[in-house]
């Protein structure tokens, strides 16, 4: 146990490092900050709620720098797309926070907020899961017909509509290989930013699907570009929290120590898989987060009487982090086995890339 003077508590360094490591792997792989998994874990370790948020967002900023550098080396960042979205997102977050303050003044409860975030995550989970299963089947069918499939097939036609909007200036995103109006990128950034600011989350789990299904970027580009955006937004958020005294930098240090290594693994793992594999992991993380949040909601709605509900929510959240890391590790392991011509499960060939 280590004495964290600023937070005023004692907490195990080992668990902080493991938490940072596991969330680093997941965040580097699916392009999220992981706050919806880390903040409850930090509260369980004994950190006060406001400090858990501050430590979390500060560690996300540091981890995202490492993951962004790695994704840049893998060619997964579209700078035009990323930087255009940053402006819109920062505006959106500020609007979201103000809307939240206004609704709180009108009497909106924490329970209503939690319910709202559960509904959004559930909707995203259902849509992403259905679309990814469809893409998985299509890749299987195309491969069986003897056609070589690349890293990604087009996810939906919804992005065609947004790309067809001709409001100047229209930009050519070279890496993402799309031509789209800058205002569409900013608009999507504002919308995702408002949701993120309102629900108090980083927004990666909203922005990655938005980049894939609305803008039309491939999943790998969406992940890398979103991590670039998180560096800026989490960096700013971390600075604000630090100025408000919500950050214990020693705790951040131990978490980043684990997260730096984890983010490397997660980012490199994307090179072994196709887009649908990343979207599966994103969908699972959303679905499992909904289950954990649901139990927490029931616990709050029953007047915090049944402690086992809260404990179950905590164990499930920690188990979810481990599950996602193990699944990502399995995908890489099966990809390597597939390349060597060894046996792999029937659902693997469509999800992994055979050659570099």
């Amino acid at each position: 146990m280590f004495e964290f003077a600023i937070a005023g508590i004692q907490a195990p360094i080992f668990l902080l490092m493991i938490t940072g490591f596991t969330v680093g792997i997941v965040g580097g792989f699916i392009g999220v900050g992981g706050g919806y998994m880390v903040t409850p874990a930090l509260i369980v370790f004994g950190f006060p709620g406001y400090m858990a948020s501050g430590i979390d967002i500060m560690h996300i900023a540091g981890k995202s720098v490492v993951a962004t550098v790695r994704h840049r080396q893998l060619g997964n960042i579209d700078w035009i797309l990323g930087l255009a979205m940053v402006g819109g997102t920062m505006m959106g977050v500020e609007m979201g926070v103000r809307i939240l303050n206004w609704t709180k003044a009108l009497g909106l409860s924490a329970i209503a907020l939690l319910t709202g975030s559960v509904v959004i995550m559930l909707g995203l989970f259902i849509y992403t899961q259905i679309e990814t299963r469809r893409a998985h089947k299509r890749i299987d069918e195309i491969s069986e017909a003897g056609v070589t499939v690349g890293r990604e097939l087009k996810a939906t036609r919804f992005s065609d509509f947004w790309q067809s909007i001709k409001i100047y200036p229209i930009v050519r995103c070279h890496v993402a290989r799309i031509i789209i109006s800058l205002w569409v990128i900013v608009f999507v950034g504002v919308c995702t930013g408002v949701l993120a600011g309102f629900f108090g989350v980083g927004g990666g789990f909203i922005r990655v699907p938005a980049l894939v299904y609305v803008i039309g970027a491939t999943t790998h580009i969406a992940v890398g570009t979103d991590l670039l955006e998180i560096v800026v937004s989490a960096g700013y958020g971390g600075l604000r929290h630090f100025m408000s005294g919500n950050v214990d930098m020693v705790a951040v240090f131990w978490m980043i120590l684990g997260a730096m290594v984890g983010a490397q693994f997660g980012s490199i793992a994307t090179a072994f898989v196709r887009g649908p594999a990343i979207r599966y992991i994103l969908a699972y993380s959303l679905g499992l987060a909904v289950v954990g949040a649901f139990f927490r909601l029931i616990y709050l709605l029953t007047g915090q009487q049944y402690m086992f509900l809260n404990l179950f929510a905590v164990v499930f959240t920690l188990g979810e982090m481990l599950f996602l890391c193990l699944f990502i590790g399995s995908l890489v392991l099966f990809a390597v086995q597939y390349r060597r011509g060894k046996w792999v499960p029937a659902w693997i060939p469509a999800l992994v890339v055979k050659e570099d």
């Binding site: 164990v315 188990g319 979810e320 599950f323 699944f327 499960p345 029937a346």
Partner: protein, 36 residues
């Protein structure tokens, strides 16, 4: 074992169960250490 791994849903469920058990055990050990 191959039968379970060959099904994506089966693999998913087994992995999730294993992860929750490990998380539960680690959490219980830590809780025992922390509780007075």
């Amino acid at each position: 074992m191959k039968f379970i791994v060959n099904s994506m849903l089966g693999y998913w469920l087994v992995l999730l169960l294993f992860s929750c058990i490990v998380a539960g055990v680690v959490f219980w050990i830590w809780l025992k250490d922390v509780m007075v």
